[in-house]
Symmetry: C2
Subunit: 336 residues, 2 copies
DNA sequence: TTGTATGCGTTATCAG
DNA sequence: CTGATAACGCATACAA
């Protein structure tokens, strides 16, 4: 069933049906009524593909997520959910594309076949070929995270350097002298993953500033890795009394390793870091942490993208979020 | 840039470009070469929208996920990831639609605007109006889970009744006499959510069969609810020595409540249930559980959907998965 | 081996 | 206030 069928049954022309639906030109109320009745009876809705072809826009945005193999973290999941939600609120559909490798058929379809009006690019690398690809193709996009060179793109990011610096200062204020940063996987760090790099910078800066003894260790995105990581840390670094982490998936393992070592949090050992709020609250004891506002980020990313789409020539915008550190119960004065 | 531009630059007609690309009719190798050179130079890819309009199919499938508000469980997340992955392997894109309420704009767009070739419907209810809606619209679809009446649809599901029955029998064999089933939220059970209902049936059957004392309790999908749930259970039912659960999100809380009560797993208390494999393995001690094969389900769901799309009149197919119970370390003989 | 012409379902322009 | 008609970009039946 199509607009012609409706027109035929209502005894009007196709354009009248179209205008009755869009309201873009006056239609006699009697005519409109007749048309609407037919539409209601048959449950007609304009075909999205034909409309997209005619209008030159798809009312769809692409969301490029990390490849499916790597399990998404809660933070990432919350972000995806909030993007889908924010998009739905403005009647936009979301096309999912798992991408990461340089050559990716799904990503290529997205950028060069005109399937979407714009793209949200998650998990951006400091050097990310996809950014150039999108720019060359002229597809509006916003990055979650930003590249090293910035490249005149719009992005929204979390100030990992600042947050980790804050965390370390907080630990220093509590008297901790020997602290570790548990970061993301060695592969990710090597690949130039921004948050990991910047967290490392913030850590180094704060450690230097306060004259602490700081150890940075990579850690896989799962509980087991977290456990092994802390076990190794405790084995190799006596006098360690606190860790800060940006690896939320490792938290359950971190917790476990400490419990196994007979260390009570926060009396014997302090933990702090950057994590999704529910994750921090579910931790035991509740985690003193910067709560990544994933939901807010999703909303803002969609808003930013809409701006890029409607005003491609406007100067790109950047949003750097620095959520406050929520003081909960996982940090305390260092034992003397 | 479009096919006409390529044709012009290569000095051939549009159809020749089209055929050079599709290979659906012979093209002189010299001509093909010339066309290909222009295409490579300009990086041309046929517009997906125009192609979809012409061909009558979008090469896109819809994935209807639970509304964003409710955080997805790991099982669901794994499923989404595997669907996206399986779809990408056959060059299909995935359109995400958060739906649940009866009236949902995003869902309506999906079914009535021809945006997708077919739909995978997650989190199906025993009575689910969306099933009728899809059938009325003539959109091929497969359900994850099935309705009460079956309604001649294709679906893939996990045999929750059978799995819970197995779990309870296992506990009975170990000498447990008083056991509880921790199911999903009261709302979900009330709404006629299949897995919860069927788990309840399996539980009741096994309890009766073995002459046990069984308690079924609803529980929200989060750690906190799990904790409160077990606390209440321990308070109200002395002599309880084991629980089985289909609520994987509650597991961390269940674990915590038992630890707080000074009960060691599995020596003082046994736990078993249905969960994603990584979840079960990350549990401490590793959970004796039926590992829901979410990845396999995603792949099979896509395959099933492809069949519905290519052969709409073929009889619908059903796949009921009964993963084996992996014996790990969370169950032991009841203390006497 | 190649070119021309048509139609997919819309929206919007141009006439009336 | 309404109707005929031309695009949007592509694939394909029909002609040559």
């Amino acid at each position: 069933m199509n607009i012609g069928e409706i027109a035929r049954r209502a005894g009007v022309s196709r354009s009248t049906v179209s205008y009755a639906l869009s309201g873009k030109r006056p239609v006699a109320s009697s005519t409109r009524r007749r048309v609407q009745d037919v539409i209601d009876e048959l449950g007609y809705r304009p075909n999205a593909t034909a409309r997209a072809l005619k209008e030159g826009r798809t009312r769809t945005i692409g969301l490029v997520i990390p490849p499916a193999g790597n399990r998404l973290t809660h933070m990432q999941l919350d972000f995806v959910a909030s993007v889908v939600d924010a998009a739905a609120r403005v009647d936009l559909d979301v096309l999912l594309s798992p991408s990461g490798e340089d050559h990716d058929r799904s990503f290529e379809r997205l950028v060069s076949e005109g399937r979407v009006d714009g793209v949200i690019l998650m998990e951006i690398r400091l050097e990310d070929p996809r950014v150039g690809r999108l720019q060359a193709a002229g597809v509006p996009f916003v990055g979650i995270g930003h590249t090293a060179g910035d490249q005149g793109m719009s992005w929204i990011d979390v100030d990992y350097a600042g947050l980790v610096r804050h965390c370390v200062r907080h630990l220093a204020d509590l008297g901790h002298r020997r602290v570790a940063l548990i970061t993301r996987s060695a592969e990710l760090v090597a690949a130039g993953y921004g948050p990991a790099r910047r967290a490392g910078e913030g850590f180094a800066a704060a450690v230097a500033e306060r004259g602490l003894d700081g150890i940075e260790v990579p850690c896989g995105d799962d509980a087991r890795s977290g456990q092994e990581c802390v076990e190794a840390l405790l084995r190799g670094h006596s006098g360690l009394t606190a860790v800060t982490t940006i690896n939320e998936a490792a938290l359950p393992g971190i917790q476990r390793a400490l419990a196994d070592a007979g260390l009570a949090v926060p009396y014997d050992f302090s933990i702090t870091g950057v994590a999704a709020r529910t994750w921090a609250e579910d931790f035991r004891p509740p985690l003193t942490a910067a709560d990544v506002p994933a939901l807010e980020m999703g909303e803002k990313a969609v808003a930013l993208l809409m701006q890029r789409i409607t005003a491609p020539d406007a100067p790109p915008r950047h949003i750097l979020l620095t959520p406050p550190i929520s003081l909960r119960s996982s940090t305390a004065a260092a034992r003397t």
